[in-house]
């Protein structure tokens, strides 16, 4: 295809991606280096017979002028990254010096928002992903063994938790585990403890969010594995059976190696999706016990009276950096494959 034709065909697509994905990333970076102007404050002294009083007022005109001159705010360098909302270097150094044991130190660090969000996001990603892979594979094996008539309805029912909107899906579960909901109330009866609440305990909140994550993403790995199982060569299975391999051995030595590339693909998608976990935290109102990086950015932009663009920008850059690390192995692999293909 000629370069000019290629450009014409891809122009709309490339321009929207450039304008709304590439440029925002750059603008987020620039945002993170600046800080809001301080309001210009006028201090005036009023003296009357009873003494002098100083009053402060905001000079709106001067503030507006300052804003017009530099709409991004004051240049702040990397200070936003090191403040207590983010890496909190000073505070960590102090915590290290003042803590007598490592556990106390970790507990102190956990109080800073970024470390809090990072620890939940990473735990969530690395717990949910293997569970989804493993359980999805088991369900796929199970469905493969079902009579043909039942397969269609099973796949239909399995797709629902994944297709449904994350915010809505987690709400549905949230209402069920509520103290008055069907699961919550039943658990209270089972343990004979009327104050048992999944929402009040940090550990149970984490577990609940992860159970939701597994429930939501398992259909995806199930479907992909199930499709993969249909492509396992019959001859190899037959040959293994003739050689005396048991069902388990056939699965272990023929089916699993065949499905390995699929498992890598699923892992990649799951890592990307789990790392941006956000909606369940809103639905479960879990922010007291569990926050994710995406939630942190949302919070910077939404919760305070003025959006904290610099904080949101810095958190976003840290997120992008983490995503880069997650993707690096895949990118290197693809690059190698591509080079080999071109050489051959």
């Amino acid at each position: 295809m000629k370069h000019s034709t290629f450009l014409l065909f891809t122009l709309p697509s490339l321009s929207v991606m450039f304008l709304f994905i590439a440029i925002p990333i750059v603008s987020v970076f620039i945002q993170s280096l600046h800080i809001e102007h301080k309001q210009v404050i006028i201090v005036s002294e009023n003296c009357d017979p009873f003494g002098c009083e100083t009053t402060t007022s905001v000079d709106t005109e001067a503030s507006a002028k300052l804003k017009e001159k530099a709409p991004l705010g004051k240049f702040n360098g990397f200070k936003t990254y090191s403040n207590r909302m983010h890496f909190a270097f000073d505070e960590i150094g102090e915590a290290w010096n003042s803590s007598d044991s490592f556990i106390v130190f970790v507990k102190k660090i956990y109080n800073y928002p970024l470390y809090r969000a990072l620890s939940f996001t990473l735990t969530y990603t690395f717990v949910v992903t293997p569970f989804v892979l493993f359980l999805g594979f088991l369900v796929a094996l199970g469905v493969n063994n079902l009579p043909k008539l039942l397969k269609g309805p099973t796949i239909f029912a399995s797709l629902l938790p994944m297709i449904v909107t994350p915010l809505v899906g987690s709400l549905i579960l949230f209402w069920m585990v509520d103290g008055d909901g069907v699961i919550g109330a039943t658990l209270q009866k089972l343990f004979n403890d009327n104050s048992l609440s999944l929402k009040a305990s940090p550990v149970l909140t984490w577990v609940m969010l992860m159970v939701y994550g597994i429930w939501h993403l398992m259909p995806f790995s199930f479907i992909v594995f199930y499709a993969g199982l249909q492509t396992v060569p019959h001859e190899t299975i037959e040959a293994a059976t003739i050689d005396g391999a048991s069902k388990f051995q056939r699965t272990r030595h023929v089916v699993i190696p065949h499905l390995m590339p699929l498992a890598i693909f699923i892992t990649l998608i799951l890592l990307m999706d789990n790392f941006r976990v956000f909606e369940p935290i809103i639905s479960f109102r879990a922010e007291a016990h569990a926050t994710s990086i995406s939630w942190l950015i949302w919070n910077h932009l939404r919760e305070s009276a003025y959006p904290l663009y610099n904080a949101a920008g810095a958190t976003s850059m840290i997120t992008i950096f983490c995503v880069g690390i997650l993707l690096l192995p895949v990118l290197i692999r693809t690059w190698r494959d591509f080079n080999e293909k071109n050489k051959g």
């Binding site: 925002p24 945002q31 009579p147 297709i163 109330a185 069902k247 990307m272 995503v323 895949v330």
Partner: protein, 293 residues
């Protein structure tokens, strides 16, 4: 003989059967429970005393005279004006899918037919863009959108959703067009067509299966989005999902949780039918990227 072996009940098969049955209960029960409960009053749906109340509607019968009520739906759709959100969602989803597919088909076709190195780099950039958490992008939009005064309106959200959708659409349609033999459009070009004519008269008539599958996923992305729509739309232009989220803030305190439950069921129903009618396309779409890559 083969069929005989396949129909025999071995212990392994029984375990598999039980396991799948368990999964089905876990997957389906929440939906059935919420659908049934949305036609009850709050005292039944959140019944601490006895979960059977939610099934038989003990309080519902006491309060409304019938064990079945549509108060929740009336409250959310009419009183809280959920219908506005439904209209907004329809507009956003329709245009997002339409524009995504138009841009994606053109781009995906060109990427599949180009033999140059930059096609590979564009796809790689797409993969990286696909991995960006949407929240990081949204934090970059707000300041410029406020400055240009385009914040809060539907077209802005539509174009942002199209852009976020593009990497995925490009990848999917690219791998789909790779499956259409090159010879088809090349022979058309031998007969004197230029590239655009070949695309118009040869490729467009046969591309619909792939486009429909991709369209389904664009639909899901636009329909399910919360991050972009909740940050970029003003209150009166709100779509369904952020509307449900704001229900939680306002409605829950007034003891009208059932409004939110009804809204949740209303938002899930279209997805239910979507899976019912397009199950085959969704499954093939999920596996398309995987089996080949």
């Amino acid at each position: 003989m083969n069929t005989k072996i396949e129909n025999k009940l071995t212990p392994v098969r029984i375990i598999a059967f039980v396991f799948v049955a368990l999964w089905l209960i876990v997957a389906m029960f929440p939906f059935i429970w919420t659908l049934w409960g949305s036609f009850k009053v709050q005292a039944d749906f959140f019944s601490k005393a006895d979960w059977a109340n939610a099934i038989f509607g003990f309080h519902t019968e006491k309060q409304t005279g019938n064990f079945f009520t549509i108060d929740g739906y009336y409250g959310s759709w009419i009183e809280e004006e959920f219908w506005r959100a439904v209209i907004n969602t329809s507009i956003v989803v329709f245009f997002t899918v339409l524009i995504s597919l138009t841009f994606g088909t053109l781009g995906g076709y060109a990427l599949a037919r180009s033999t140059y190195r930059y096609a590979f780099w564009i796809l790689m950039a797409g993969l990286i863009f696909r991995a960006m958490p949407h929240m990081t992008l949204v934090s970059g939009y707000l300041q410029p959108f406020f400055a240009w005064n385009v914040w809060g309106i539907l077209p802005t959200t539509i174009i942002v959703l199209v852009a976020i959708n593009q990497p995925f659409t490009l990848w999917m349609l690219h791998s789909f067009f790779l499956n259409i033999p090159k010879d088809l459009d090349e022979s058309a070009m031998c007969d004197g067509c230029n590239r655009f004519q070949a695309f118009r008269y040869v490729i467009i008539p046969i591309m619909w299966p792939g486009v429909i599958t991709t369209g389904l996923f664009s639909f899901l992305l636009a329909y399910n989005d919360f991050t972009v729509t909740s940050m970029l739309l003003s209150d009166e232009n709100e779509t369904m999902i952020p509307a449900i989220a704001s229900f939680l803030g306002t409605v829950q305190e007034e003891g009208k949780v059932m409004y939110a439950v009804a809204a949740v069921v209303s938002a899930t129903a279209p997805l239910f039918f979507l899976v019912m009618f397009f199950q085959r396309q969704i499954v093939s779409g999920l596996t398309a990227g995987a089996v080949k890559g």
